[in-house]
Amino acid sequence: MMHVGLEHYLAVSGALFALGLACIVLRRNALLVFMGLELNLNAANLALVAFSRYGGHAEGQVLATFIIAIAAAEVAIGLAIIVALFRRRATIVTDLLRSLKG
């Protein structure tokens, strides 16, 4: 078996990104769509940290720190939008929310 290196971490990151993408595209619950987005962000963070570790520079982990800070802001806004949506329409099932569809 191969020794674990950069490519292994990138493979895990890619697989996690694919799972997050599947969550976004396939789930009907808007909250779960949002969780898929979080999975994507974390997959990107893992790739950044792995590159930073094996490439020997700080920038990847600096960027990952920024991503976590921005993700916190994004989650707060997104969940507020979902709560406002639920108050108005009484559902968060995405295929029932189609008033923008002509």
Partner: protein, 168 residues
Amino acid sequence: MTVYDAMFWFFGLALLLCGVLVLISRDAVASALFMVLGFVFLAGLYLLLEAWFLALIQILVYAGAIMVLFLFVVMLLDFREPRRWWHGNLLGWLGAPLAVAALLAALLPVLKRAGALAEAPEKWFEGTLENVMTPVFTRYLLPVEITALILLAATIGVVVLGRKETKP
């Protein structure tokens, strides 16, 4: 196989398993809790990468704060879970594998070259608090300030969005 390799496979596979369970769990609370567990395993991967500071932040901010916010909203909304969790439309079922295939096709050349990208072990970066935060507060000071502004904007936005609607 060294202990390091074994730990990598354990954390990596557990993380991906948690990702699958987030995707297929019917209950939103179960999904959120599996995601917390997955983030703990991801923090384990960060520890293996010697990103000590980010592992700590991952547990404190992501598993601790962000996912608690998710659980709080699930509790607040009190919605009924739809009978099936997946979309019925063909576009999604065709589009999702296509998107994943495109992603993997884009990633494969990078994976092949990844071994060449890695530096010699003595040049590897150790993510201590000092090593990560010194560039943040020197070279990347302006982005830090912009991030602070974005957080302020997000706070104001949430307050505005969360207000009860008043009839004009």
